[in-house]
Symmetry: C2
Subunit: 329 residues, 2 copies
């Protein structure tokens, strides 16, 4: 099973557990199960190359939703691509990376042959490295960094030409954490993901906020039409819908409380997470993962821990009930 790296491989799970009951319940990702109900993608969005205006209006809608300076923001087909292209745009020698964290960052910098320090205190190493990478709130443990201390870190790094890179893939859940309003500041790179909070990961839309020179380098790599017409259309609609965003935040918070209740009732210890996923500690992560898989429930395990499992939000009452039942020994 190649599921240790990322979640979302439901086709592989089906093949590995052919006698599990259908439909599978996929709790392996931290993606909102109640996706934004976008309307009316015009034919032209598929047919024509996206015009400048389509790009600009998606960008300014997203910037407004993030309370970011619009000109500091660049759109991309998913933040994954940005994570992987960053080492082609900046060249730090030593990189301090928060651990545990979403694994793509370490992999990208390792492939770029940087010296990597994986640490629980990357901000504390700001004076000793050329780049610091954190995720805020962090995936998978939900750890939160105060914007003030991040800003101070960015300032210190900027003095010597270094960078603070903040992956805010889950910051829509708590905008007060976000450095997006400081987008464009020296030494600060913020990555945003559209698909997680809006529940539209297949659309492939993400953003980079950074100073002009870096943004321009990245834009040259990505080209004139990096994002699909449908993604620009959907992104604009969703980012403008503040009522939906507000209601969704509280709906996710409620669902998270219910999920915690289910996990506690099953005797599991929740050790972290966000309103889109919970990190659970258990005696034997593989045993729990396998047990749930036999019940047609797909959760995320990690290749770096025997004791942790990440569990996303069930979409329906029925899914909550099945999870409860599946967790009962």
């Amino acid at each position: 099973m190649q599921d240790g790296q990322h979640g979302g491989a439901l086709d592989l799970m089906r093949a590995a557990f052919p006698s599990a009951p259908e439909p599978w319940i996929d709790l392996s990702t931290g993606i909102n199960p109640w996706s934004y109900p976008f309307r009316d993608i015009p034919d032209a969005a598929y047919r024509h190359l996206p015009v400048r205006d389509a790009y600009d209006s998606c960008r300014s809608a997203m910037a407004k939703a993030l309370r970011a300076p619009a000109e500091s923001l660049l759109l991309a087909p998913g933040s994954e691509l940005l994570i992987r292209l960053l080492p082609k745009v900046i060249n730090p020698r030593r990189v301090a990376i928060l651990t545990p964290m979403y694994g793509d960052h370490v992999e990208a910098w390792r492939r770029a042959r940087c010296d990597i320090i994986e640490t629980e205190d990357p901000l504390g190493l700001a004076d000793q490295v050329d780049a610091v990478v954190v995720c805020n709130p962090n995936n998978p443990d939900g750890r939160r960094f105060a914007p003030d201390s991040l800003l101070r870190t960015a300032e210190r790094l900027a003095c010597l030409g270094g960078w603070l890179i903040v992956d805010e893939a889950y910051a829509d859940l708590d905008p007060s954490l976000s450095l997006a309003p400081h987008g464009g500041k020296d030494g600060l790179i913020v990555l945003r993901s559209f698909g997680k909070f809006y529940g539209l990961a297949g659309v492939r839309l993400g953003a980079l906020l950074a100073p002009e020179a870096l943004r321009s380098e990245m834009q040259h790599l990505l080209g004139v039409w990096p994002v699909s017409g449908p993604a620009l259309h959907i992104g604009k609609q969703a980012c403008r819908d503040e009522a939906w965003q507000r209601e969704m935040r509280s709906r996710l918070a409620d669902a998270r409380v219910r999920l915690d209740r289910i996990l506690h009732a099953a005797g599991l210890k929740v050790v972290g997470g966000t309103d889109l996923f919970r990190l659970v500690e258990t005696e034997n992560a593989t045993r729990l993962w396998e047990h749930l898989a036999h019940h047609g429930i797909y959760v995320r395990r990690f290749d770096w821990s025997d004791r942790l499992v990440r569990i996303g939000l069930p979409e329906t009452d029925a899914a909550e009930t099945r999870l409860s039942a599946g967790l009962t020994p």
Copy 2:
């Protein structure tokens, strides 16, 4: 007007010629005006991260349509991104590039600080350079290279670790030109575009065919989910529909004959092109471009020529009539 670089900037044209009659007729791109009528994009394609199976079935459908070995092919969100990432994956010192040609190639290699030789005979320089770049059939003049001589060039380049890069953005029009069946061969990189022939440029789908080591490097840059769920769904459908492809080839050939008739009747000289666009020579390209713009007709001019204009296929009889009328002095 920033239209010298690429076509497709209809919003800018509207702003520059506010009194032109609506609707505008956009003939500035070489994109099929009769787009593939895809059906039923499932909700899941937008909502979930594309599963491996969705990627694989789009890839094998495209490989089959191209008569290419499936494992030699890698999907990307448009060939533009591949053009721009290639210099991050291979490092030629000297690059011979066909001229005239689609300008993104020169720009990408120039940004990578390669020594560039722009030449009408790039194949003849194979022994003196590390990479040769051609477009087949070529954009904008429609020049065609015989597959045999391209293959020999790739072989010669491969001997010294060099590369032949063939951009086949318009090769769907004449599959006999394509090197896709040789995908994976040493020294050969083939780029394919989905949006042009299928008339779905907004979808952002393209492909790279190359030997395993290069493909794997590129895959690491692009990540696990480079292409959107809707693009994979549409790409699979369209690539499997051989009847549509056959009929479309003959429909485009007919439309091209009608377009040539219109151009000839207006006293214009067609000096090249493909079944998706014609290259026209005229005394003063800017004057013709501006004249047509005042009639609400958008054609492509070039920053490297005062005498050439590229004109795409009108979608309807009415558009053909308006083009005829617009061209009458």
